[in-house]
Amino acid sequence: MFFLWQGLNKDPSHIPSPLINKPIPKFTAARLDSSNKSFSEHCFFGHLSLLVVWSSWCSHCLEEHTFLLHVKKKPGLQIIGLNYRDNLLSAKHWLKQYGNPYNKIIFDPNGLLGINLGVYGVPESFLLDEKGIIRYKHIGPLSESSWHIDVEPLLSLWDKGSHG
């Protein structure tokens, strides 16, 4: 009975990622802004990164969009978008319409990089440290509250670590 009761508090759609504390997998992927240049795992080295998986057809992504535009203003944190299983024109149009909070955007129309990251839905986000190691995965749209509760404690922990 105890387990059943406790089970009510568990969210069945939150699957823990086995990639936590592992480096981002090696990859080569297209850029949203230019078709003849590409990105690799190197774009995650040297900065604290927030990798946001989004699509223009995903309604929840719009929810977290305003929040991301606000978070963009935090110093030292780069926001990298992963445009997942989307149409190039629709994605570009969406950004033009709603704004662009991303420093860089990876274009992943077939979801291949997504699968390598264990992405199963949109939106999902990852927090990576300067060495490109995945430290945290967030399922669902990011918001002010989830940022305060889940992400900021981690960021301040690392801040202390790097200054201590």
């Binding site: 105890f2 387990f3 059943l4 406790q6 089970g7 568990k10 699957i15 823990p16």
Partner: protein, 295 residues
């Protein structure tokens, strides 16, 4: 001991279902991670238990009678087992491409139950009992056990010999599966109250029995942005045919899934027999009570 063997086995089976269902929850609440327990687990653990249950069901007729009777029946049962093994091996070798041992054991055990049941009937007949009398006293057991055997045959054969194909078809294409040939004759636009989509009509070629055209729909619900497939199912005594229209793969070709599942209906028929057996048991109990009251 024999009397409760199946009770014990069935209780363990029920416990297994509970364990398998609650295990992911327990592990999650204990913070040990998230894992899934699905059909493959249940199939793997259930199968040996089911075999044991079938085996003990076959011997259940040995339970009454004197010690001498029991020994005689035991000898007969050994003969029955040998017969069951031989018949099932023969059937499988002749009619199937390769002998699968799980199917062999399963089929042997169901034949074991059926032959033992027939043997019991024969014994009762030899005691000069009329069929009606036999039915009144042993009818429930007969029906229930036969029901289990029939369902078991359905489960074993449909899971071992099902055929499946995922293909691309254009109108006019024919797809063979097993001894059947499915031809896509036409695809029409579909409009419903809250959905649009397509309906595919397929014809079965070269059949001895006339089968009505199979119609499968793909319904697209714009509000939830979901495309659902509504399959066409043709149920027959020896096999079920299943055709599902899936998403279009190119502007003039569609993806289809076909299933031919042998003996599928037997699972249901066996169930009906078991229910009949249960009702018979209730009637039997009532009858015994009435007789006791009269005496």
């Amino acid at each position: 001991m024999l009397l409760i063997s199946n009770n014990v086995l069935l209780s363990v089976a029920v416990f297994t279902i509970l364990l398998g269902t609650l295990y992911p929850l327990i592990i999650d609440v204990l913070g040990l991670g998230k894992l899934s327990v699905g059909a493959p687990y249940f199939n793997q653990v259930f199968t040996p238990l089911a075999f044991l249950i079938l085996f003990f069901m076959g011997i259940s007729y040995l339970l009454n009678g004197s010690q001498a009777d029991k020994i005689r029946h035991l000898k007969k049962s050994v003969c029955v087992m040998v017969a069951a093994i031989s018949v099932s091996m023969l059937l499988l070798l002749l009619l199937t491409p390769a002998l699968q041992w799980k199917v062999m054991i399963g089929l042997t055990l169901t034949l074991w139950i059926i032959l033992n049941t027939l043997q019991m009937l024969w014994r009762e007949k030899q005691k000069k009992m009329t069929l009606q009398k036999i039915f009144q006293t042993r009818g429930a057991m007969l029906l229930a056990h036969l029901g289990v055997a029939v369902s078991a045959i359905g489960i074993i054969l449909s899971s071992a010999y099902s055929l499946q194909r995922d293909v691309r078809m254009r109108v006019g294409d024919t797809v063979p599966l097993g001894m059947y040939q499915f031809k896509l004759t036409h695809v029409d636009a579909l409009r419903g109250p809250n959905y649009t989509g397509a309906e595919a009509t397929l014809q079965l070629l070269n059949t001895s029995v006339s089968v009505p055209d199979l119609k499968s729909q793909l319904r697209y619900y714009p509000v939830s942005d979901i495309a659902l497939s509504k399959p066409a199912i043709n149920m027959g005594l020896w096999r079920d045919l299943y055709v599902a229209l899936a998403e279009p793969v190119s502007p003039n070709a569609w993806a289809f899934r076909f299933y031919v599942k042998p003996f599928m209906l037997w699972i249901w028929m066996g169930g009906i027999l078991m229910v009949a057996g249960g009702l018979c048991a209730i009637l039997q109990t009532k009858r015994r009570e009435r007789l006791r009251q009269i005496n």
